[in-house]
């Protein structure tokens, strides 16, 4: 009984405890402002990593374009908040911004999924990369605004003029600015928990088993009567939607999205992939832990100044070797077995 609870809900409890601890420390003034400001990004990268793990680990398709979905969620959520900044109270507006961001990211996930999921392996990966880059390229080129005459959209700033009462929403490379800073650590944790519940629930459901059957052997799954395309689309769209939620948190934390090349390009997608692989492919909870640690790492090494990113790269390589090298995995397994023999009463003291 206790074991079941620990297995099923252990990780949620850990997250809630983490939230409680951080909130207490923060209100006691024991957290530095730097560390406190890292808490929100940690949650949204964790959410994005969960989303990508759903695609890579559960569905079994490599995507290197997930920053694109995050980008769509970020932009649509921010635009909604800008439009309703005056009209709606903060909490309701933020909630609706989530719905808008998630819905649009899901829509794009669905539309992109139709062509993408027909492909396989590296070809699929490169098409997701292509879509991610297209989204980024278009969003940094368009000028978009509303005024009393309606909606205006232009590719060149010289074609873009608004009436005096107009509101510029996307200003080309200057992007979206003035988004209210609605994101907080608490909201981030709530969204993270919801995402985790959703994905875990999916994995335990009939649909989830079907999706994993497709991952393990597509032809066999098809032969048993599983509707392959339908389930693939389901997982991919859901994955995009969760990434969109992470995007909404992003845009309501950073508030100014200028020069998006630096955080929504293929490098950002690859960074998400790093979180997923380091945390364990298919291990949803692992992604959360890996995303949080890897986001913290370079920030905590600021004291190293010029050597910061160099050390970060070395640590990343070493962590990969430690976690994945078959030889080391074997050694680790033996060490754990040895420990187990030495400490017969283990179990409760660890978690």
């Amino acid at each position: 009984m206790l074991n079941t609870i620990r297995r099923k809900y252990g990780f949620y409890i850990v997250i809630v405890l983490f939230w409680l601890l951080m909130t207490l420390l923060k209100s006691a003034g024991a957290l530095s402002s730097h560390f406190a400001s890292l808490l929100v990004p940690m949650t949204y990268y964790a959410i994005a990593a969960v989303a990508l793990n759903l695609c890579v680990g559960i569905l079994g398709e490599l995507s290197i374009g997930h920053a694109g979905f995050m980008c769509i969620g970020a932009f649509s959520g921010a635009i909604f908040s800008l439009l309703t900044k005056e009209a709606l109270p903060g909490a309701l507006r933020f909630f609706l911004a989530f719905l808008v961001g998630i819905a649009l990211a899901a829509l794009f996930g669905f539309l992109i999924g139709i062509p993408v999921l027909r492909l396989k392996g590296d070809y699929l990966a490169i098409v997701t990369l292509a879509f991610g880059e297209i989204i980024k390229n278009i969003l940094q080129a368009v000028y978009f605004g509303v005024d009393s005459k309606g909606v205006h959209l232009a590719l060149d700033m010289t074609d873009f003029t608004l009436e005096p009462d107009g509101l510029t929403l996307i200003k080309g490379p200057q992007g979206v600015s003035g988004t209210p800073r609605d994101s907080s650590f608490t909201v981030g944790i709530i969204v993270l928990l919801l995402a985790l519940v959703l994905v875990h629930h999916l994995m335990d459901s009939r649909d989830g088993r079907a999706i994993m059957a497709i991952r393990d052997n597509r032809i066999a799954a098809e032969a048993t009567g599983i509707h392959v395309t339908r389930y693939k689309m389901l997982a991919f769209t859901l994955s995009a939607a969760i990434a969109g939620a992470a995007g909404v948190l992003f845009s309501h934390n950073v508030t100014t999205m200028t020069n998006i090349t630096n955080y929504f390009n293929y490098n950002a997608s690859i960074m998400l992939l790093v979180y997923v692989v380091l945390g364990g492919i298919g291990n949803i909870n692992g992604s959360v832990v890996a995303a949080m640690i890897l986001y913290l790492l370079p920030e905590m090494m600021r004291g190293l100044q010029r050597y910061r990113m160099l050390i970060y790269a070395i640590v990343l390589i070493l962590m990969m070797l430690f976690n994945w090298s078959p030889a080391l995995v074997e050694k680790r397994r033996k060490a754990v077995a040895w420990l187990k023999n030495k400490l017969p009463g283990r179990g409760k003291g660890v978690a």
């Binding site: 890579v56 490599l62 062509p115 027909r118 492909l119 396989k120 590296d122 070809y123 990966a125 490169i126 098409v127 990369l129 292509a130 879509f131 880059e133 297209i134 390229n137 278009i138 080129a141 590719l155 060149d156 052997n217 032809i219 066999a220 293929y266 490098n267 690859i270 992939l273 790093v274 692989v277 380091l278 492919i281 010029r306 050597y307 990113m309 160099l310 970060y312 790269a313 070395i314 990343l316 390589i317 990969m320 070797l321 976690n323 994945w324 090298s325 078959p326 030889a327 080391l328």
Partner: protein, 294 residues
Amino acid sequence: MSFLNYLINGLSLGSVYAIIALGYTMVYGIAKMLNFAHGDIIMVGSYIVYSAMSMAGMHPAIAILIAMVGCMVLGVVTERVAYRPLRGASSSLAVLITAIGVSYLLQNIALLVFGADTKAFTSVINWKGITLFDGELQIRGTTIITIAVGLLVLFGLQAFIHRTKSGQAMLAVAQDRGAATLCGIDVNKTIAITFAIGSSLAAVAGVLFCSTYPTITPYIGSMPGIKAFVAAVFGGIGSIPGAMIGGLTLGVIEILSRTYISSQLSEAIVFAILIVVLLVKPTGLLGKRVMEKV
């Protein structure tokens, strides 16, 4: 006439993509890994040539030779230290992430050694090129030489792979590692050779890349790296002629779309065309369809 000029400009850009894609596809096709650090090996090669020529005053040919050897050593060492331990890991993605780590590492080492400032590269090709129709049409010397070197590398690689024993071993390893081992092929050695050749080709590509676009920073490798990946997939994964054709096509599409459609959206258009091509021909231009087995 201006269309022809744009076409030639496209081939010029494409030839650079092609030469990078050749080395990339070699590693990619045989070691079966997306080597995200390939672009950074190009960067290292360029810096070696830069240092040897501009700082030590060496002859270009010697500088290139040093860079090839340097990159070869670098490629083999990274393979041994960072990639080989992960061979046989439960997912092929593990080695891909390590490659990203290697890429960051090389960039940051270059940043510390050479500084962030842009440096101008002295082109190793001083030939101005061919001018036709009273200067209306111009083909740059770098373009002609890059394409020529590309073809040389293409035929050289084809001959090496199909005519030599180690080349045949590479094909075998690419097809089925387990079976290759059973046939007595040393998989580790074969892959090390692949990295050695691929990395020294990266040095050559770096020299040609920097001769065409003569500035160097620690980050010049990342974009060409990703474009070479696109070109390699475009041409068909693992197909060496495919990489050449994929690179050239990519360059031409990029330039023509920038010319005739939109200069802001040229990447979006290039990637959209790539998607359409892959949907029509899901294994790239020259890729082979592999039958799926249950």
